[in-house]
Amino acid sequence: MKMELIVLAILVVFIGAFAYVSSTGNHEWSGSDDQAKDTIDKLTGGTYRPWAQSIWTPPSGEIESLLFALQAAFGSLIIGYFLGYYRAMAKMNVASSSKSKKET
């Protein structure tokens, strides 16, 4: 249990820092990759134009977050499935070994 608590504490500090920063001053909370784009503009004096277009861009922010959510959901599903599978397997091994001990 100890490690879960440590991770939880780190997350609480992280959320607390977010709450503190967002309550003080004005922040955009934009993506750091968009900020890098601004930096590119600054460095090249705005002369750089991306020369390749994405083949397909999500039609709206909602659809984009749907696809991100799908990605996360799919990943979590796999992780949860296998951890659960391993857990049950470990339990069964313990049960069957204690059983065979009793029999002998």
Partner: protein, 224 residues
Amino acid sequence: MPLYWCVFWYALALPVVAYGAYKMRKLMKANRDVLPLLAVSGAFIFVLSSLKMPSVTGSCSHPTGTGMGAILFGPWMTSVLSIIVLIYQAIFLAHGGLTTLGANTFSMGIAGPIVGYLVYKGSMKSGINMYIAVFLAALFADWATYIVTSIELALAFPAASGGVVASFEAFLAVFAITQVPLAIVEGAVTALMFKYIVQLRSDVLLKLNVASPSIIKKLKDMSV
């Protein structure tokens, strides 16, 4: 990013991915039962790289999740897992893009995992607790990814005054600071994942040569 840099990073990344795919096939043939853990490592990258989190700097970024794969399967195979995630994001989310796929694969799938792998092996040799070694490895894998991204961008867009170095500092200012808190969270979550792997499938850790039997035994006796 100019075309010749796109080609350059592709040329650097693709052989690594190809070798990783070859190693993966060989491992799968020899050890069918590590397949679930490989899937979990890939899924872990999937989840973490989809989470855009706000950082203390007032901007958002996302972790990479490559530390786990790097420790379990090494940087070669992690590059294969990463390119799958990056292709998904490039095609469906217009996030990253296909022209820069080579550069992204290099920073997230190769440079980060190599650093994470070396940090893990180095700290295991120094004899510290395995979970702390995992934490450090994932942290530095995440951070190295963004430092290398800054280098890639700086090479492609050198500043008029100060050249590549000045550009590097400018990009680093954007990425590195945002990434520090995220890297710490990623390290902690990865360490937690390893706790479950040690509890449930420590035999696989032995098989993959991630930890020695004595270390596993110590971790199992310790209640964390």
